[in-house]
Amino acid sequence: MAIIQQTIFIAALGAVAWLISRRVGIIGRTIRLGKEENRTDQPGKRLSIMMRVAFGQKKMFDRPLIGFLHFAVYAGFILINIEVLEIVLDGILGTHRIFAGPLGSFYGVLIGFFELLALGVLISCSIFLIRRSILKVERFQPSRHREMTGWPQLDGKLILVFEIVLMIAILTMNAADSALQDLGSAHYPVAGDFLISQWLKPLFSGWSEGALIAYERIAWWVHILGIFVFAVYLTYSKHLHIALAFPNTYFSRLEPKGEMKNMPEITQEVKIMLGLETQPADAVVPERFGAKDVADLTWKNLMDAYSCTECGRCTAACPANITGKKLSPRKIMMDTRDRLEDVSRNMLANKGKFVNDNKSLLGDYIQEEELLACTTCNACVQECPVLINPLDIILQLRRHKVMDEAHAPGSWNMMFQNLDTNQAPWKFSPGDRFNWASAVTDSGPEGNSTAS
């Protein structure tokens, strides 16, 4: 019996490892479809940002209660994994609570601590589920946010149910274990009652040894297989943020938020036009200005898309979205990720090469109206707890619309024309630029009137 369990366990572990490594490879290759951009300068500063924002979850505490609950789930997730190590070793070696012997009485303390975390996860996830399903927090509602229709809505709830089931499994497993210890069952060495699960023991009063063993085993398998399935599932889900939050914050932008990246390919052309440079013989004309599809964006834009957990803080802060425009920064990120997943499936089906599917991020996923509604106010960038930058994508798509497709609202074209001819966005004569100065002299200058 034991050897069958061990075999099944090792096979499951191997399958999970294979599935995850395959998926990690695919996501890694997909992110690398993006353009080069150096984000490795100032490693000290980057590390400190990662420690504060990802490890310390600094931005989550903007909303203290939710920040605390989220931290409970996060701490539980990281620390309970130490117990998973024991479970995995037990599974492979066919042992039971392998750490109980070597750790002695400290083992009980440790499991008690894990149980406390498990209870924290259980309570927090239940509250989150209530917020999503019953309290109907505005930013999660598909009726108000079209990007939350269908799968994203289900995905969010599924993850919470998953975690709740896992935590119930581990707590009741420990309770059944304690009950078995009390009965002096052969395979259940005495480790003492545990901090939280001792209160669940009454549930098992009157159960036979066989029934208790069966429950303990089932709960053990549900817990560990649940974790395996969860680990694979998260690579397909918004829940990937638990891993990508770390690199994503590390590689985040260090420049002031207001700064737009320069386009050196344009600079050269402008210099030639102004007579500052001559046309070099090896001049390469870029095949595309701005971004039309995911491969035109940078790898960091693409990592941003995979790091998004669809919390919608960006959208809730977006002035365009608040006032009912079509733009939702969260949708920009989700569309980018959906397109990436499409491209990655396309590549898998075509031996690693992308075959043109006549689709693009701009047009088939993100519409012009969304781009045009953006005020570039950076509220979305400011809000993101894992430092995603939706604005950077919006602006690159705008560049494509205007420079490559030569498509802009008429009033913008008028503004461009004014800028080109009279160096102001409005139709004023450049010669009138200094007329305001007469108002200073009219009312009597004080001292320095040579301001010209």
Binding site: P256, K257, G258, E259, M260, N262, I266, T267, E269, V270, M273, L274, L276, G290, P319, A320, I322, T323, G324, K325, K326, L372, T375, T376, C377, A379, L395, R398, R399, H400, V402, M403, A408, P409, S411, W412, M415, F416, L419, D420, Q423, P425, W426, F428, P430, G431, D432, R433, F434, W436, A437, A439, V440, S443, G447, N448, S449, T450, A451, S452
Partner: protein, 255 residues
């Protein structure tokens, strides 16, 4: 500036007026107020006058990198010709572009927003607020501009300037990092808003009116337009005024 250069004089600072400050009737008053403050503080400053062009910000945000770089390059040529080292501007969009985006094109200057410059003048004792209107007890709320606040982390300088007025500074619910845009950034100033249920400036003005302030202080020409329109839309132009920081300081000094 040309005059100063011809006389071999070097200004302390170049005042970058910007297009709104030069052409927009409402914002020209801000330009004049700021110049009066500079004069009364004895600051030796220069302006480019007709040699100034748009920084290119609206073109760049709208996606027209070509027009942006044409304007930026010629501005850099002019600024470098006069060997300009330090710039102050009353427009957060000019401020952001000159400060953060010109270096990539070879234009490196020390750039200050007029809120920062005014704070320096007040702290140094060069601007003293006496002789004019009294603000004591009046409620003022400050509307954060995106390109000053989030874009460049300047939140305190404008508030310090307002505190010097000794007025009662009240904050809107969404302020500083959470400040709500006026709706004009990113090229929106130059086009109709996309279809929606409300205009952004109306959403913002409602919040500003909720504070009960009789003065809405702004520090940006676009915010000025949007907030003023918002006040008109709510038919409150008799009881609520929108002023730039420089205008308030000039009023307090009786300039």
């Amino acid at each position: 500036m040309a005059e100063m250069a011809a006389n071999n004089e070097t200004p302390e600072v170049l005042f970058w007026v910007g297009c709104a400050g030069s052409f927009d009737d409402r914002y020209k008053k801000v330009t004049v107020a700021f110049v009066k403050i500079l004069n009364s503080a004895g600051v030796k400053f220069a302006v480019l006058g007709t040699e100034e062009s748009c920084t290119g910000d609206p073109a760049r945000r709208a996606g027209n990198e070509f027009t942006f770089q044409m304007l930026a390059m010629s501005n850099i040529q002019v600024l470098d010709m006069y060997n300009v080292k330090k710039i102050v501007t009353a427009c957060p969009h000019c401020f952001n572009t000159l400060k953060n985006e010109y270096p990539a094109l070879g234009g490196n200057y020390e750039v200050l927003h007029h809120s920062e410059y005014l704070q320096q003048l007040i702290d140094a004792g060069r601007v003293r607020l006496q002789g004019g209107e009294a603000f004591k007890g009046r409620k003022i709320t400050f509307h954060d501009s995106c390109y000053l606040g989030r874009a460049n982390d300047v939140y305190e300088a404008p508030r310090h300037v307002l505190e010097a007025l000794d007025a009662d500074l009240v904050e809107m619910k969404r302020c500083r990092t959470k400040g709500l845009c006026c709706g004009a950034g990113g090229g929106q100033m130059f086009k109709e808003p996309e279809p929606g249920k409300k205009d952004v400036n109306i959403e913002r003005i409602e919040e500003a009116l909720q504070t009960g302030a009789d003065t809405i202080a702004v520090a940006c020409p676009f915010c000025m337009v949007m907030m003023t329109d918002g006040v008109k839309n709510k038919e409150k132009e008799q009881s609520v005024k929108v002023y730039d920081l420089a205008e308030l300081i000039a009023q307090a000094k009786g300039l």
